[in-house]
């Protein structure tokens, strides 16, 4: 693991892994969505709107997964000082935010025909909205820390503290009364019929690959910016 903390080795790996993850992710996700759109029958209770499942659930998981990645990378950065761990945390922030926003928007669209409301202030929806605000705050904090030359430890500590919200989101439908359904898929168990579960799992894998590809692309961009800035600064000092 420490070997990949070397930026040169990371760039050599990311050069071929980034397009591979993105292309395979797009193909798998597109296949799963077409499958869910055309081959899956309407649900007995939810009717045709059950098809929203194939976008809503993967983006919800990846919204939470994105912050879990930020927390783990922040911990690695704080404990072992991996030079790339802080970049990995920052790289996961934007895709995590985008998937959280897609989850909130598609959930709202799903809520209107099933609950009769675009939005309700219950535990699951509110904690997911808090996650979106945490992402915005983390992105702003990391940018400000970079601009002001402040230690990357501050956003890393924020990334760790924000992880408190993840179990709250996960358990919200168990702890509080909610219009949102309880967990349908738990470790090793699923109450979803196989006809819906198969395309859902393919969509989860596809969107996860996209997530990984976007994280690598954003890490490469951040690393290139840092290296260019460092070289420009060195040149300016040499000229002085």
């Amino acid at each position: 693991m420490h070997g990949f903390a070397n930026p040169k080795r990371f760039l050599a790996l990311a050069a071929w892994l980034t397009p591979l993850l993105l292309v395979s992710g797009i193909i798998l996700s597109a296949g799963a969505l077409v499958w869910g759109f055309t081959q899956v029958p309407p649900d007995r209770l939810m009717g045709e709107t059950v098809r929203i499942l194939f976008i809503h659930v993967p983006t919800a998981w990846l919204g939470m997964g994105g912050w879990t990645a930020i927390a783990i990378s922040s911990l690695v950065f704080l404990v072992w000082r991996h030079p790339l761990a802080a970049l990995a945390a920052r790289g996961a922030a934007v895709p995590g935010l985008v998937f959280t926003l897609i989850c909130l928007a598609t959930g709202s669209v799903w809520g209107r025909p099933t609950w009769g409301a675009w939005w309700v202030w219950d535990g699951r929806l509110t904690s997911m909205l808090v996650l979106a605000f945490l992402y915005v705050a983390y992105i702003a904090l990391a940018k400000a820390a970079e601009r002001e030359g402040v230690s990357a430890r501050i956003p890393a500590i924020f990334g760790l503290l924000g992880a408190i919200n993840i179990p709250i989101i996960n358990r919200s439908v168990v702890w509080w009364n909610s219009l949102h359904q309880p967990p349908s898929i738990t470790l090793g168990n699923s109450s979803i019929d196989g006809i819906f579960l198969a395309p859902l799992l393919v969509a989860v894998v596809g969107f996860s690959l996209i997530f990984g590809g976007v994280v690598l692309a954003r890490m490469r961009a951040l690393l290139a910016d840092i290296q260019a800035e460092a070289r420009l600064r060195r040149r300016a000092m040499e000229m002085d």
Binding site: L22, F37, E48, R51, T106, V214, A221
Partner: protein
């Protein structure tokens, strides 16, 4: 009186949000990466030319 909702409208809308948002994020991240790497290459080559 019950409101009649066309369920497909909501399915189309959710798919448009999901697919559109994901593709926009991929394109934005890819372009940002290519721009940053091109800038780094330009700075490197101009540094070498100065020497």
């Amino acid at each position: 009186m019950r409101e009649a909702l066309d369920q497909w409208t909501f399915v189309y809308l959710a798919y448009a949000i999901g697919v559109g948002g994901t593709l926009a994020m991929i394109a934005w991240s890819w372009i940002a990466m290519k721009r940053a790497e091109a800038r780094r290459a330009k700075v490197r080559s101009s540094s070498k030319a100065d020497r």
